[in-house]
Symmetry: none
Subunit: 217 residues, 4 copies
DNA sequence: CATGAATGAGTCTTCATTCAT
DNA sequence: CATGAATGAAGACTCATTCAT
């Protein structure tokens, strides 16, 4: 990625170059394939995507693909893994007791901003996450369902805590968590689909407003 | 169904019979195939579903399928058409000016109850509507997107009217409509997925509460 | 196989025809594919044979092949099964105690004649049996090895009995059985390979002579 | 093997060194590849063997393989050549007229002992010779068939001479030669397959006994 | 109308071979 | 010389669709 433009030959660097080029190249290739695959999966869905489309987009030969990924299912998994890891890193539990932490509303806002920014920055990925719920290999479907389950649980917990603290009105927390998760997904879909979407910041404001206070005046 | 050994062709019965039996039989067969196809599409997604699975479930021969539907894409379209028609019939614009109409909140509630009841009664269909957003034939995808676009517009209009009437706080109506649509989808997913989902009535109460007043106390 | 030359259409036979044609046709097709496959496997070996070659020889489309056999391995198995069944039916244990049975040397001779006649009548099959010992799917290899093991045991038993009865000189029965089995295989190979092989009868005479009395004057 | 950091090219050492080391290294590498290939071919058959397996076993890089052998077919040929050469060197025509030679029975015995010892010492090779009769490149198949043809001719000649000298009973020499060759192959297979095979010496005794005098008492 | 055998384009995957480093 | 990334032809298998019966 950083790497100097192109190595000049097999000379193993004159002096201080602690990076091993071949490994870097390999990683680069991998990224290139992942990128192409991500776009194709986003456009066509898991079953609709063909290795042909992926290698055409990645500008590589058929065999090369299999040098980097065992199978179609494995690329898909890799994409999912990466996405879920990135999202997990962006979604943190809201801390209410730690006085050193930011106030909960700010934490909530930060979570949303981080998440939406990542997702908007990678529309293909968003599309995959949003639409692969049924159309993939059973194992991948389960992993995805598990992920969304986690997120929903996180929201449900936050609601429960909020209720305890009298910040949130009593409600069916499971159902409401599902509803709120849907809200976020709806917003993401809008951001990703819209030709001229509003800024993430503004979007988050609206999202939080709806979630916390609804639409009534 | 009603039998008579074998119909001799499309000739509509002998004389005085206000129903033409063969046509009824034909329609029945069609429904039978649609039902099977719906379940298969729901389980496997568009590309994952195979004609084999459909005809096995429908207990018909391969050729028979093509007697009733031109292609796999056409059955899918038929399912989508039916679903969208049913939903359109259940979702009515909220009438604010007609004094004969029920008060808007009641209209909203009725819309939601009708919709959720239909969807919960046909989980396979719900699953298809919720997950076929990307994984189908482009044309079907467009139609589906169009449908959800319609619904979102409906919500957006309702919001605009509400704002005019000072019932709804000013907001980015497009975005908020997307958010609310997402909320409904989230709730539907919960209903359809949950092993022991709450009653539709209670669900709608919660849904409306979140949508109108948010989660804050 | 017996079947009348070609059916004249869908007319289900005028009167007495208790055979169900479709099943017969299906069996016929199956035989046709088995025949083609047998020849290809004989010419190219298991791994060298391609479905392409088989369907070209059988004059059928690619998909048709898979209508009759699950996979390449399955056709091969079917061929092996048939061959082993036929051979098992032709190789009977030599009965020494039953006075109603033919004298042992005659039984031996009959066994050999039956076996060689079958094998010579189906060279492709002989070739497969003789050369697929290593080059096939492990499971098939095992089955084949098991079969030859059976035959060798049969020979070894016969030798033991012969030794008890003082007809056969004492020897390492296992090793000698292997040697004799090899002798038979060598003869079969000769028969199958030779452009103008001797008659089976004469061949069996020579074979028995070598096996019983060796080559010394 | 002998090392020296890295040879600088094909230049043959400094000066006075009657062996040119690089060539020796090259030969060594070649042997290493041949060894690996032999084992793989023995385990998997010609078509079943892959370059991958060979280079893994030989612990060399993919390209290196092609530095020593033009293709898969060529390694196989090399193996066959070597084996056939070794065997040819061990199988000598039986000399009946030269009074200086050992008596014919001893010559026969020596031939067999030498051959079996070689073969037992290299099971992989035995396996290849015994089972590659059909499953290889046509050219190799022909060469192998030619080799066995030679051996058979040798045996046939010996039989003819024996008949002339009244040592051997009159028989169809071609057929009997094939039978005897089969006998030897059967014994070899037994030796190679058996978990606890008898000593070569004992084996040869039995083999000769069967071949010369048969199994009768 | 119903059937299901037949088709062949298309899918995923492997593997012998080449070549820049 | 050695390496191993890259290639693409070819293989096994699937599946939507057609058509004779």
């Amino acid at each position: 990625m950083a790497a100097r433009p192109t190595s000049l030959g097999p000379s193993p660097g004159i002096a201080a170059a602690d990076d091993d080029r071949p490994a870097a190249q390999r990683a680069e290739r991998r990224r290139q394939i992942l990128l192409a695959a991500k776009q194709v999966f986003a456009d066509e869905g898991y079953h609709g995507a063909s290795i042909n489309q992926i290698i055409e987009r990645a500008q590589i030969a058929r065999g090369t693909f299999y040098l980097y990924f065992e199978s179609k299912a494995f690329v898909f998994d890799a994409i999912l893994d990466q996405a879920m890891a990135e999202l997990r890193a962006r979604i943190t539990r809201i801390e209410v007791e730690d006085p050193a932490a930011a106030p909960p509303p700010v934490q909530l806002r930060d979570n949303l901003v981080r998440t939406l920014e990542y997702v908007v920055g990678d529309r293909a990925l968003a599309s995959i996450l949003l639409t692969s719920g049924k159309a993939a290999e059973p194992e991948a479907i389960d992993r995805l369902a598990g992920f969304f389950g986690e997120v929903r649980s996180l929201i449900a917990r936050a609601l429960e805590q909020g209720i305890e603290m009298r910040l949130v009105r009593p409600c069916h927390t499971q159902l409401t968590a599902a509803a709120l998760l849907g809200t976020v997904r709806g917003v993401i879909e809008f951001l990703v689909t819209s030709p001229s979407p509003p800024h993430v910041d503004e979007t988050v404001n609206e999202l939080i407003a709806v979630a916390l206070r609804g639409v009534l005046a």
